[in-house]
Structures are given as structure tokens and as C-alpha cells.
Symmetry: C2
Subunit: 421 residues, 2 copies
């Protein structure tokens, strides 16, 4: 498969061969003398790296709008957990297909996921064409028997994903959080991930209660607790990190931990506090951006997430210079790629061909004084016209193959799920 | 002109005759036996009231993305004011056409505006088909000579708009703020607005500095200062109201002042503090929603504004139950209509025909467990397929007449403007 993107407004031509970007700029067009499978006219459009969503629970799209504006405990106990107990593999497959469709249509080409029935998530990612890092949500609830079950589930899932033999679908190890996984469980996850060369995906310091409970249970706050048991390292991607001290920021930086900032979810659930972006950025922490699941956002639009991130940090610090547009754009692209250890996030030769085209001929993108500003502060995901992942064209002029079936199936299955819960 | 909207998912049929909604529901379709100018098939769509943007500076679209992430004083003195000094009538006309295009494409049918060269704004509104309340930004800078000039400008502009004879284009009186208009200027505006039966549109308590300076100059904070000179009343719409005390909230409620909340602009400019939504709502103040100008937002998407408003209030109060989706929707529709004194904001017989159709067959609108939640938390303005204002179809399946010309002209004129500043 080869794709020639011609005449883009920002980079001229881009030539994709196989799953890599082969050339960028004027020279790229000469490649078209060879047989090109697909030529895209990008006049009036910008070619950009696909966005990277560093923390989500894709199948939760089925619970979009099912419970809002509720206290966290009420929301979990009366809405989310009862619904989740009814989840069957079929729900996870179609919920993830729906999420993948939404991501493709809003310019996200890679995501980092943690949930249940992850074999179904993996199949849905395989079938959608997206790139993803997938972890089975390991929750032993401090019980040995459950821990053995979670260990087996994790091992089985990793083998299942390896069996795909697809570079774009990777397994991770995903201990849920310090309040749901025992010390022994966390230690096993760490050892297994290191041994297999996998990422460790965990929720960390999302709420104040999590910190207080961790001090009660372990005599330490979550970050020092995890550091003390040797869990923290360069393969850890920690979601949220809202309730962390300056000293803990230094620990995260020293250990090379990657952080996923989820501003919309934090604000909507009113978890209190704000992720200390400025301190983390200055300490050199790689900070990516995540939407979290659709039940607490309620969409997967990374364009919106960039803007909310910038607005939240500015408002919180009373300082409009914090998290400028360029840094928000980096969070959603190159930083996300670094956090997940994938070779994407830029448009240059030798990089994996995860690309999007953005229509500049729209009122909210006019005038184009500053493209990055328009992308971060004015665009929504609907500005994306083409999405390419791993060298494959997944959306062509906003058309995605199989869209109608995915919408109809997921609408029906979501209604059945909620009707039963 | 008559329009029949058939088979909408939420309300069935809606029949529009002239500039009013004549009937809603099953019976509406029988009207189609008469000659109907336009029939819209709304299967898979919801029919909803057009959104009302209660505070903006439309022509500032030309400055979109020109200055971001800067301290307020630097932004104004090095970017906005030098650019504004170069503004010519032509800029205002095309900047407003661009804004109107963006609003039509994102479901806003009415807006409240304050800026310069307002005759050009009025012409652009007339030509775009939107509904608007327009005020010449009265700034006397505490000089008598300038005040006389501003009085004449205001009188001339009101006459100009009256000369249109269009119900959908109304004049307002718009003293800029307490720090730019003298007591005599404010008193003249109040008297003139009351005499003519017009709205008074003012910026109020946007920044902490405004409060401090007002105390230094007048011995009172802005709200009691305005109340003391008899300015506050039911025809006042006050934008921002971020830095107000609980006592001032009571004053605003008692005087019947309407408030325009502009969360994105407040957050992006990091004006500090947060508009006390909960206190105002409980006191019974009519609170609408506004985007402010595109230079400080940087778009005019009221769907995004609803979400940012809800997120900000929840995060600020550490309480997810504050500003639930239903109230955010009301702010953007019926409350905006009440604030501007126009008979829109709902879909029922006898109301002005300002309507939008929203496509439900999209991933971010699926599943449809709760339409209002999806509109507030998941949608962007791109879900709108049809926009009707004053009984006229302004957007049909996302096509707006003259779009290309508006985009090209405004892009060129914006580049010329910035090149010269």
C-alpha cells in the first residue's frame, strides 16, 4: 500500500510506503512516478500527525450520557458498577468499535486502554485499523484467590495479543490502582511487565480520598508507596496524577514515569485539585493527554481535550501563559507517542504513517494566522477529513467503512445493556 | 415562506409559517397539505431551538489566533489594540460575516454584540439572516468631548438599525465598562435606553483589577457603584460578572439584571475567580451563555461553551452536581432568549422560528441514552445539519449560501490587517 498526499498547505507533499512515511516536501511528489495506490489532493488542508489518546476505557462509549452530574460514589454505585456487571464480551467489542469510529472521525490514531474482556477490545482494534496499547484491568481487591485469577487473565491476554502478530496492537500490564490492587499484585505486575518489555498502565492519585486511604493502609501516599515497592520506572504510564506534591513530581521525573493528563474527566467528576502541569513540565516529565472513558467526558475528541487542558491550567494558575497552544499540541502528539513508546507523533521520513488531514477551509479555521492556535483553541475533531493509521487510509473525506453498522449495532446493544441493569 | 420539518426523532413534525412555529407534533404534518415551500426530512435528527450567544464581538474573528497565551496587558497593548486601530468598516463587515457563518454552522441563531463601526455589523447581520442585538461600544474615556461624540454615534446607530425595519436586528445601548465610561456617560446611556426601550449591554466585574480601580476612583465596587447611580435594571445585560460578592449577586437579582457567563474567555485570559453560578442561579438571576470574541476563545461554538461552563463550575466547587446538563442547555437557549428579550429558545407554537436540526447518527451522539447530556457533553457545533432563523433556512445539510466567498474574503482581509499592524 502506498499513499501520496499532494499539495498540503503546510508541508507540500507526503509520500507513504507500507506503514512508514517515506518522504515529506517537494521531493515527495516525484515518488508518484511509481505506482501509487492512493493519491489524496490536500489542497486547502494541513497534514499532521495523528493524535494519541494516552488514557481511555474505549468500551465505556456504551455508557455515554447514562449518568452525569452525580457525586462520584453515587455515580459508581448506582450507575457505572451495576451496568458494568452486566457487560458481556459482545458489549466490549461493539463499544470499542464505536469508540474507534469516534476516534478515527476526530483524528486520533492511537490510544492506551484499560478495561475488561480485553480480547474483545483487541479484536475491535484489529478490525478498526487503529493503533493501541491494551491492558487487562488487573484488580485483585487484596484477595489471593482473585490475584491468581488476575495473573492468569493478564498472561492469557498478553499471549492473545502476541498471537495477532500486529505491530499496531500492543499489550500492556494494567494494575488498576493502589486502592484495588495488593502490594503483591503490584509487584507481580511490575516484574511481569519488565520481563516482557511491556508498559505498566495504572490510575494514580486521581482523588484526595485515594491519597488519604493509601496513607491509612500503607503509611505513605500513593507515589512514595509505589516508589518504595520498586514499581515506578520508565515503562510506567500513570493516569491522572492530580493529587501529587512537588516532591512527588520530582520522584515521577527521576524514575522516568510518563503521565497522562485527563482534564475533562477530572473537571466533570470534580475530583478536586488540578494536575500540576507547570511543575511536571519543568521537572521534565513526559506528559500526554487522555480523554478517559466516555462515561466521564463524554466524548473522545482530543481536539477538545487540548483546549480544556490549556483552559484549566490557565484558570487554575491565574496565568494565561501556562500551557500555551504549542505545548498542548505536543501533549496530544509527540508526548503521547513518547509516553506509549511508539514511533509516531511527527510528520517526517522514517516515522510510522499515522497521519491526519485537517480542512482549513472552514469558518473556525479562518483566518489562519497561526495553525497550531487554530488546532488547539478553535477546532473540534470534525475538522479532520482523512485519517491514516499504520499506512492504511481509515477515513477518506469523512467516510469510514462500516460506520452505519457500527452505529446501529452499538446503539441497540447499549439500550439493551441499560435496560437490563 | 413555509417549512415542514418531518419525522424528527424527538418532536415528530414541526411546521413553520412565516417567521413563527405554527404547530409541533403529529398534527403539524397535516399542514403540509397546503403549499409548503420547503420540506426537510428529519429522520435520525432532533429539532431544537437555535442557540443564543449573549456576549460576543463578532468581527474579532479576524483576530482569531493572532495573540494567545499572553498576559492580559501585553495581549491588549501589543496585539489587540494596535490591530483594532487599523480596523476599517470593511473589516467589520467581513469579520461579522465570518462570525455569522461560523454561528450558522454551529447552531447559533441569535447573538448579542458590542464593537465599533456597528453599521457594518448591522449590515452583515441583515445579509447573513441571523437575529442579533447590536450595540455601539460607548467609550468616553472620561472626556466630555469624546462623550458628546459617543452620544451622537449611539443615537445615529440606533436610528440606522431602526431604518432597517427588521424585527430580527435590534439596537442596544452599550456602555463598554465602568473603567472606560464616565458617570455622566453611564447616566446618559441608561436614560436613553429606558426612553427608547432598548437593552443596556455592559462588561461588568470581569477582572479583579476592575474592582480595585473602581473602589479607588468611586469608593465603591462596580456593582454597588452602578446601582448607586441608578444604572441597574431589567434591561441591563451584564457580561462576565466574575468578581462579584454574594451581596452583589443579591443586588443583581433584585434589580432584575441579566448576566452573560463567558467561561472560556475567562479561563483563557486567566482573569481569576469564577462566576458564582450557584449563588446567582439560586438568587433567581437569568444567566445566559456567551463565547466573548474569537480573539479570546477562539471560536464561537456554543456547544463547546455549554460544556466548558459545566466543567468549570464543577471543578471550581469540587461538586459534580453543580450546573447539570439541563441547566447548561437552558443557559444556551431559553435563558439567552429571556436575557435578550426575544421570543425564542423553545420549540412550541407561537414562538419565533429559530430552529436547528442535529444529526443523531454520529458516533459522539451514540448511544442516545440522554439527548440533553449528549448535546452538552459530547456534541460540538458540527452536529448541526440545518439552521433556520426567523423562518428562513440559512443552512441546508451543512451548506450555507456564499460560504466560499466569505471564507476567502475574510482570510485575505485578516492577513492584510495584521500585515499592516
Amino acid at each position: 500500500m502506498s499513499i501520496l498526499i499532494k499539495n498540503s498547505e503546510n508541508l507540500g507533499d507526503v509520500y507513504v510506503e507500507g506503514n512508514e512515511i517515506e518522504s515529506v516536501g517537494k521531493g515527495a511528489s516525484s515518488k508518484s512516478r511509481r505506482k501509487t495506490d492512493h493519491v489524496i489532493d490536500a489542497k486547502g488542508k494541513a497534514v499532521l500527525p495523528g493524535l494519541v489518546n494516552t488514557h481511555t476505557h474505549a468500551a465505556m462509549t456504551l455508557l455515554r450520557g447514562y449518568g452525569d452530574d452525580m457525586l462520584l460514589h453515587d455515580w459508581l454505585t448506582t450507575k457505572i458498577w451495576p451496568a458494568e456487571e452486566k457487560l458481556k464480551p459482545e458489549h466490549i467489542y461493539w463499544g470499542t468499535r464505536l469508540a474507534a469510529l469516534e476516534m478515527i472521525k476526530s483524528g486520533t490514531t492511537c490510544f492506551n486502554d484499560m478495561y475488561f474482556f480485553m480480547e474483545e477490545t483487541a479484536k475491535a482494534v484489529r478490525d478498526s485499523g487503529l493503533r493501541a496499547v491494551l491492558g487487562y484491568g488487573f484488580l485483585d481487591l487484596f484477595k489471593e484467590e482473585k490475584r491468581e485469577k488476575e495473573i492468569k487473565e493478564t498472561e492469557t491476554f498478553v499471549k492473545f495479543v502476541e498471537g495477532f502478530g500486529l505491530e499496531r496492537v500492543k499489550a500492556a500490564v494494567a494494575p488498576h490502582a493502589v486502592y484495588t490492587v495488593s502490594k503483591e499484585g503490584l509487584e507481580w505486575c511490575k516484574e511481569f511487565a519488565d520481563e516482557k518489555g511491556l508498559l505498566l498502565h495504572i490510575h494514580l492519585s486521581e482523588t484526595r480520598k485515594e491519597n488519604e486511604d493509601c496513607v491509612d493502609a500503607n503509611g505513605k501516599r500513593p507515589v512514595p508507596y509505589l516508589d518504595n515497592i520498586g514499581f515506578l520506572g520508565e515503562n510506567v504510564i500513570a493516569a491522572h496524577c492530580v493529587w501529587v506534591t512537588k516532591g512527588e513530581v520530582r520522584t515521577l521525573a527521576e524514575r522516568g514515569v510518563k503521565v497522562s493528563h485527563n482534564p475533562t474527566s477530572n473537571m466533570k467528576l470534580a475530583t478536586g485539585g488540578v494536575m500540576p502541569y507547570k511543575e511536571m513540565h519543568e521537572a521534565g516529565v513526559v506528559i500526554g493527554l487522555g480523554t478517559d472513558g466516555a462515561a466521564s467526558n463524554n466524548n473522545l475528541d482530543m481536539f477538545e481535550e487540548m483546549k480544556v487542558a490549556a483552559l484549566l491550567q490557565k484558570a487554575h494558575r491565574w496565568d494565561p501563559t501556562v500551557l500555551p497552544a504549542g505545548e498542548a499540541w505536543q501533549m496530544a502528539t509527540i508526548n503521547g507517542a513518547k509516553a506509549l513508546g511508539i514511533n509516531t507523533g511527527e510528520v517526517k521520513p522514517g516515522i510510522l504513517a499515522d497521519l491526519i488531514l485537517v480542512d482549513l477551509h472552514r469558518p473556525e479555521m479562518t483566518p489562519n494566522h497561526n495553525l497550531v492556535s487554530n488546532l488547539v483553541y478553535s477546532a473540534s475533531g470534525s475538522v479532520v477529513t482523512h485519517t491514516i493509521c499504520d499506512g492504511q487510509l481509515l477515513m477518506d473525506e469523512r467516510v469510514v467503512e462500516g460506520e452505519d453498522k457500527i452505529l446501529e449495532k452499538s446503539e441497540r446493544i447499549a439500550k439493551e445493556l441499560i435496560g437490563n441493569s
